[in-house]
């Protein structure tokens, strides 16, 4: 059986810690994605130039409750619709556009959304894409840290 590359570390975990503890599903994978920390992102957003485009690729329910001001909701990266929205949104952008993706639906290692969205942009040839690293979730790692937040659609 050939497993997707993102599942291989999980197989090792399962072998080490017992079956049933870790699901064999693709999840956010630091090794294959360029990441940016919340602090770094805030510095970028407050700079006079070089602000990235921010796309939330997770749950709409989460986005409505709280999102990074200026970020756009594009749909869950784990769904065909979300990937289609993302492709449509970036269709006319230069390939070197600075883009930051984020989700924060659940712990980083379980996020089903950021990997597919990142991969889609890589396949389209975008060279300046990063994923916001949220270790636990958007609430704990962004809202509770006091970074600015917007609500609603």
């Amino acid at each position: 059986m050939r497993l997707p590359s993102c599942s291989r570390p999980l197989v090792i975990l399962v072998l080490l810690f017992g079956l049933g503890q870790v699901p064999l599903a693709c999840a956010a994978d630091n090794a294959s994605m360029k990441t940016i920390s919340p602090d770094e992102l805030v510095r970028l957003l407050t700079a006079k130039t070089g602000k990235p485009l921010l796309f939330q690729v997770g749950s709409h329910m989460l986005y409505v409750q709280a999102h990074i001001p200026g970020s756009e909701y594009l749909g869950a990266g784990s769904t065909p619709q979300g990937i289609q929205n993302l492709r449509g949104r970036v269709g006319t952008l230069p390939k070197n556009t600075s883009i930051v993706l984020y989700c924060g639906c659940c712990p980083w290692s379980h996020c089903p959304n950021v990997n597919p969205a990142y991969d889609a942009l890589q396949q389209l040839g975008f060279t300046n894409v990063k994923v916001l690293f949220l270790a636990n979730n958007f609430g704990a790692d962004w809202v509770d840290k006091g970074y600015s937040v917007a609500k609603g659609d």
């Binding site: 989460l62 409750q65 639906c105």
Partner: protein, 170 residues
Amino acid sequence: MKKLLLILAAGLLLLGWTLWQHSAKPRTTGLRPAPAFSLTDLSGRTVSLSDYRGKVVILDFWATWCDPCKQEIPHFIEMQNKYASQGLQVLGVSMDDDEPPVRQFQQQFKMNYPVAIGNPKLADQYGGILGLPITFVIDRNGRITVRHVGATDPSVIETEIQKLLAQPPS
């Protein structure tokens, strides 16, 4: 050399695992009243929290795309079976954006407790559901005794509900 690398890798994995377990520690909230809500569950019935006053309630915010949630749900099904006669009621609030996957999941997992679709207003009332799973344990008097953020060892929740079930409503 290979052996050393393997030992190092195992050590790092163990450290990661330990940190993950610690990140799922409960956040004790004190005894504040659980915000009232009324939702329609997937079978069309109204689910009002006030209807469960006198029972111990596990209020689970989850979603079908959330792997840690999926790991917890079979344990909630088991607890509902085991403790319903003593006064436990599990309530599931899905934070999915669409209903069909929730309905499919409910049937597939044979969930034996009410499941309703949540909304941002309800999430706000509960302090923001900005990451899943989030589980509240509510005592017989309708007060939140604990809020678990992240995957939680089911034995921890079981111990909590056993204590609460042993207490009569005041």
